[in-house]
Amino acid sequence: MHFQDIKERAISQWETMQNSPTPRILVGMGTCGRAAGGEDIFDTLSREIQDQNIKCDLIQVGCIGLCYAEPLIEVVKPGKPSVFYGNLTPELTAEIVKDYLAGDDPRPDLALGTRGEGTLEGIPKLFDLPVLRSQVRISLRNCGNINPESIDPYIANGGFQGLERALGMKRQEVIDEIKQSGLRGRGGAGFPAGVKWQFCYDAPGDTKYVICNADEGDPGAFMDRSLLEGDPFSVLEGIVIGSYAMGASVAYIYIRAEYPLAIQRLVSAIEQMENYGLLGENIMESGVDIHIKIKEGAGAFVCGEETALMASIEGSRGMPRPRPPFPAQSGLWGKPTNINNVETWSNVPIILQNGADWYAGYGTEKSKGTKNFSLAGKVNRTGLIEVPMGITLREIVYEIGGGIPEGKELKAIQTGGPSGGFIPTNLLDLSVDYESLAEAGSIMGSGGMVIMDEDTCMVDTAKFFLSFTHAESCGKCVPCRCGTKQMLDILEDITNGEGRPGDIELLEELAQSLKNSALCGLGQTAPNPVLTSLEYFRNEYEEHIFKKRCVALHCKNLVSFYILPDKCTGCGKCARKCPVEAIAGGKRMVHVIDQSKCIKCGTCFDVCPSKFSAVVKVSGETVEVPSEPIPVKKKEKAKE
């Protein structure tokens, strides 16, 4: 069947569905949707629809990005805008079926927003909500809109038109189009994708390889997972276009085994593309052969580094090697190879479809287009977001993210995972683009963005990242293997209250030498969390070392608990719960914590009834309390 016929059929199917008199419900069933209870909601819907004998189609879709509102459904009734409902429980779902599907009450009290033409009274338009208003969906264009397990909806929504156009162009013309679009590598470093393609294209040799890096290893990052689960076809189409442009006939997707749903959807998508002649031999009758193979990673963070990744595909320990030669000259099995990450590939088809100038219309002068971020940590609206380059961090945290929970203060924004850094609040108006983030000492990174509030200790968080890179260091080069260990030891001392004068200077020296001498990106960027926290939060290090004080009250060895004599009523709860019997007291006696016995578990702090709040948590100071239990003052008793 010609692609033209396939396309026409897919479009007519899609239109039939859009205009169908049968209502349909789209259920978010990405990994986080499922983890939040999406399957229960799906089951409830199936049962309710059957029980009440309602005609309705149920469709599983990927993540629309509003993770904070999962489980999430979209109800589409003919002639009306569709309605999104979030934070569902099986009970609420049943109510929606009864009131809106069977009846005609869209339940504005439960609805998040509407999509499509028309309005419903009392329900805002979804894309007018602060969380979505400033987002631009290019890479995530199909996520949450189409069924990711079926190829036809993708085709009906413009899928494979980019490939169709590319196959009609010369290879060099395709590369020029990507260059002109200004697309830069979304894996973090931001190297211009078209230039990288050119290197591979120009390299001599008949056998070339293309790789999609889906080894999303940064803790706190889930953009690529959501994209692969929600729209696998766009990534695959991008890979096919790139393989054609560079003259590769085999492409690999290196994906972490921790993402079973993404793997399953890729496998199914590849099969469907092969059946339609969009992958394999003689793609779209152009005479071009391209095959895509999936390689499952086996759990090694360093395999996100391109030379390590290739070693892993070849079946070896995933250890990096020095560059040059760069993969474009000598990569997989010594052949010219190009590696781009999932998000970069997903942008390729739409650039070919709509043209380079269209894409370059988004973003800043040097950073074109959009960037996906996974917004997580201490923020009200966690989720997967896609924003135009040049947006400010303030807009992301406060408008899209809805600010910090429980009215706490924002302290820092972490971008780029263990290779990135912390950005303090005074840089909130920083433009999100490759250059600005690098200037602030962090990196764009692959898109993890973790928000930290006043309860986060920066020294401890720097230690957390370093313990991660230390554990994931492959051990090949000395600076990384030993440097991360030494830095980690120093940070452990500091957070344990054993920091010494000179530690900060030593940390800086180690960080610089690691940065300059490590073999690969993992080691070279490992000191970034330490360096940026030292730059912006140096006072926290100094307080830990010199005053033995942790301002966030997080570092266990630096906090103490005291029972305030004028608040304690002698109820005895804390003494009964203390796991080490460090609290002395008695009936109607002011209780006292033996500091030498206390293990700082915080149980007393948690169990002291809030009407008394007699237990305080302090750091770097002592609180005047009796040394032994004394009777509770009569006045306090009378008050009760």
């Binding site: 999303e216 889930f222 090694a300 995933g318 940590g377």
Partner: protein
């Protein structure tokens, strides 16, 4: 780390024929190329739940890769286990989002309750604790996964509840 010396391997009595037939099943899917080593190890681990030494020796013969190299690859990647896991595997996420929302305290509590450290298995092979770099479900942080069931928005006081749930199912 628990080693084979300190625990009784419940499958140490694996019959030679059993290993032979299981590995033969795995090998039938492959040609024996060097680049297939990791997928072969993954399939083998699926069969046994870990990588028994005799099976690794058979892989060496099949792929013509030295045993030492196979051991090197198997120990490099976090996914491969050289000792069997417990019946219940408790995976605690150590991702950044989970960490800032108290993941470390949850891990500590699980370790206390089971009396083993992350990466270890209880002597009765009931429980193993693992840490995972990131589940990519950061919106639900902190996350604990028990035998593939995801518990999101965890807190320390729910640790007992999830351990109880293990008992009921096993």
């Amino acid at each position: 780390m628990v080693t084979t010396e300190t625990v009784q391997d419940p499958q140490s009595g694996l019959q030679e024929e059993y290993i032979e037939s299981q590995t033969a099943d795995v090998f039938s899917l492959f040609k024996g190329g060097k680049d297939e080593l990791i997928p072969i190890l993954q399939k083998t681990q699926q069969k046994f739940g870990y990588l028994p030494e005799p099976a690794m020796k058979k892989i060496a013969k099949f792929t013509h890769i030295p045993e030492s190299t196979i051991f090197g690859v198997a120990t490099f990647y976090a996914q491969f286990k050289l000792v069997p896991l417990g019946r219940n595997v408790i995976k605690v996420c150590r991702g950044t989002a989970c960490y800032v929302r108290g993941g470390a305290e949850i891990l500590q509590k699980v370790e206390e309750r089971l009396g083993i450290k992350a990466g270890e298995t209880t002597p009765d092979f009931e429980y193993s604790i693992e840490t995972i770099a990131c589940f990519g479900s950061c919106a639900l942080a902190p996350v604990v996964v028990v035998n593939d069931k995801v518990y999101g928005k965890m807190n320390v006081s729910r640790v007992d509840e999830i351990l109880e749930a293990c008992k009921e199912t096993s």
